[in-house]
Symmetry: C2
Subunit: 341 residues, 2 copies
Amino acid sequence: MPPRSAHPRSTGRVTLADVAAIARVSPITVSRALRGERSVDPELVARVKAAADRLGYVPDPAARALASRHSTHVALLVPMLSNSLFVDLLEAVQGALRREGYQTLIGVTHYDAGEEEQLLREQLQHRPAGLLVTGLEQSEGTRALIHGSGLPCVHLMETSAAQGVYSVGFSQADAGAALTRHLLERGHRRIAFGAAQLDARTLQRLAGWRREMQAAGLHSPTLEWLNPAPSSLSLGRTMFEQMIAQSPPLDAIFFCNDDLAQGALLSALRLGISVPERIAIAGFNDLTGSDQMLPPLTTVRTPRAEIGAAAAVMLLGLMRGEVPPSACVDLGYEVVVRQSS
Amino acid sequence: MPPRSAHPRSTGRVTLADVAAIARVSPITVSRALRGERSVDPELVARVKAAADRLGYVPDPAARALASRHSTHVALLVPMLSNSLFVDLLEAVQGALRREGYQTLIGVTHYDAGEEEQLLREQLQHRPAGLLVTGLEQSEGTRALIHGSGLPCVHLMETSAAQGVYSVGFSQADAGAALTRHLLERGHRRIAFGAAQLDARTLQRLAGWRREMQAAGLHSPTLEWLNPAPSSLSLGRTMFEQMIAQSPPLDAIFFCNDDLAQGALLSALRLGISVPERIAIAGFNDLTGSDQMLPPLTTVRTPRAEIGAAAAVMLLGLMRGEVPPSACVDLGYEVVVRQSS
DNA sequence: CTGAAAGCGCTTACAG
DNA sequence: CTGAAAGCGCTTACAG
């Protein structure tokens, strides 16, 4: 079969015009029918869809983006994929968006506000139809870019009651407080907070821990072990080795992320320190392997897959111009008590 | 400042035409100058670049894609991000491509050939400028899509000597053989191979193990423990519990991936089975945490970040129409002997 | 080495 | 509810 068109620059692609010719309507009607604009005669819609199916027509994203000023891309900004939390988030987002014909543009910020801004700038050049951003704390520049773009934007992992801000997540502070209460109920008094990275969400968990410790009259600044280095198993080991030597001795450690807690657990095994008898250990996020540790790790299960999916659904609605039922969706968390506490 | 143009549909964006007006040349000359086409007077190039800088001009990817038939996207297909191996690969690819102005379109296939094909089909609609595909084994349909697209394509993680195939990786079979030799040299005889997922690369490692075991006259089908379920710590535990009960007893287990081996190590700890005295354990890929295990895990370090970066560089060259110095880049591997063997 | 014209494949904005 | 015209912002292909 020869190409449908003899134009020298024809790409061989099936175009709107081809569909229009078959359906015997104008190209613009095809465009409207296929995009589901109402105000097209249902009979024509059917004719157009049949023609499109027959020809295997697929809209050209570039042409669509150029004409409409919006691509079928959605920009997603996450801090770090080495934390599997964000892999789960990403997969859920990507799955939900893909079903609706959107491609996810992934930017990994490495917890760097400047890099986040630069990535967003680059992503905006592709004229995404919407934005998905981890957390609520952005640089001035990033905020200006988001606002200036006029694009719908949903924030992930935290919740915000602020006007005009869309968010899907849970209260990191409350989750931190809940785990702390669990440790207090177990009878632990000297409960340290071990944190790395020190990003916004970690600091909120810290605030939750502080709140409960102060309420119990047990807070002391010497119980706060804050390390700005990236979170990892080996950092957990290092921190544990320092913390276990503290005097008076600690009863328990609440690590801000499971990888630190896993490293601590392995270190305790190595040093012959019994957990939870000598010291209790708890983590956060319920990452892979935490249930396999020795002893299995007490932690907080966070619904990142659900957050990703719900945020994608909310964004999809916003991109269609709908008003979401709620601008702030709280998906909660769950304290998972295992043997390490 | 008012918008530069009174056109009702102007986007407010700085365009080629704006730069051309300032530089006092035609738009097509601006296009050529900025894309680095030679056959533009160096003096004009300088004038154009100065004008572009002054205006903060950024080319519109959609317009460029529509006119040129190629976007600034590169499609990347990986099996699974829950294996941190592919996160490392992805980050390296994305970093290298981003520096040259390309956006990475990530498709996660979940080790499913049908999903891989569907993802590629969707990605091709965005007219990527190049393709990066994990492994050499694709479905007929995927191969047809790759070939039919006419796009440059580089395969990752494995090496192929086939004509017209570009690949960056290492010999999975040789790496499997090397680790097996190490275990043999340690004096182990009954060395089992424990595998999950059973993807192409795992089976190549299996082949390497088999080769060495047969050469040593020690191979037996009963030493092959092959489980098609996804690789994970908990599966490693389950497999280990079965394998340790085998009789006559095993001397060593070579797991096809570190997560299985980590699960096995934790299981051994739980059961009070001493490693490597009672049984040696080795893994593959040197994933996060393997050096923190008890005992630290013997494994094979694989250069995935280097593979990602080198593949991106090769693809960048191919997209410029260059012929790469070598169509097949072997980046090797390294047996990392720790205490578990 | 440079440019005027045409075109990539859609959608917007305006009519009717 | 439907369409003819114009335009999105680039690059290709053809001249000179």
